[in-house]
Symmetry: C2
Subunit: 149 residues, 2 copies
Amino acid sequence: MPRSARASHKRELTHAIAVLRARQLRITEPRRLILGALIADHGPFSMEEIHRLVKKSGCDLVTVYRSMPVLEEAGLVRRCDFGKGVVRYEFNHGDHHHHHIICRKCQKVETVDLCVADALERLVKQRGYTEVTHQMELFGICPDCQRNR
Amino acid sequence: MPRSARASHKRELTHAIAVLRARQLRITEPRRLILGALIADHGPFSMEEIHRLVKKSGCDLVTVYRSMPVLEEAGLVRRCDFGKGVVRYEFNHGDHHHHHIICRKCQKVETVDLCVADALERLVKQRGYTEVTHQMELFGICPDCQRNR
DNA sequence: TTTCGTGCAAAACCTTTGCAAAGTG
DNA sequence: CACTTTGCAAAGGTTTTGCACGAAA
């Protein structure tokens, strides 16, 4: 890892830990390990993959399952639902909103920095992908639920 | 059900059955039931919900699980992945591409007829939804996979 | 010291598979 | 009659839960 990357890695981790502290969440070894792994590589990673990255240090799969929602709640990681039950997590570098290109064959994930459907599809095709499709869902609180609060 | 709706329901079902026949798939009672249920109500429905609609006629949950991929392959239904492992199916009325608004509280699903992120979000807010977010992923065959075919 | 978080094991859950019987063409 | 499709039961894989111990504040 180049020196600058290592420095920024450390800065991100320090900041993430400060966020945990501010939320009165405990700074534990598993949480440090998981955050470190996600900062080191963009991923996004599945539960299994995260576990593979931290189990050598003794962090259990169950702990990964329990930690990710906590870290997401704290705004430190972002959850990506890729359909077919595939869930992955990536470190949340600020509010930078982006999408992913997932190869339907090898499942490789790449990042895309735009956010409008057509422009996105065009960009993805320019990257050499074929048979491009997209899937998108919107979420919100419906009027009924706002009333019955 | 109004007379016109019933007539169009029958037309859709007849067409769907013709598609099955054209594909040399057998016209069975469970398949008729499932298609009928999806044509009668846009849904989209989960496996459980579809099963609830057809089990009184003796159609098993396993049969629903086995039928949906077949019907999807035939282009008769569309699969919607709503994240968190939630999968739903809706009847495929032609090639009409659309998205959904899912209430994060009650899970109610509504249909949206546009297909660009920003326009969509605006429209959803106009419908009275608050805290609107969207989730979108792209899929394609990556250059590597095209080569290693 | 008090509370929170973890590991391990077991339970729960949803989806898939095996197989004999029934249904379709 | 040949081949699909189905129902039931059982297996499989992933995610969640219970609980006692250990760690953080």
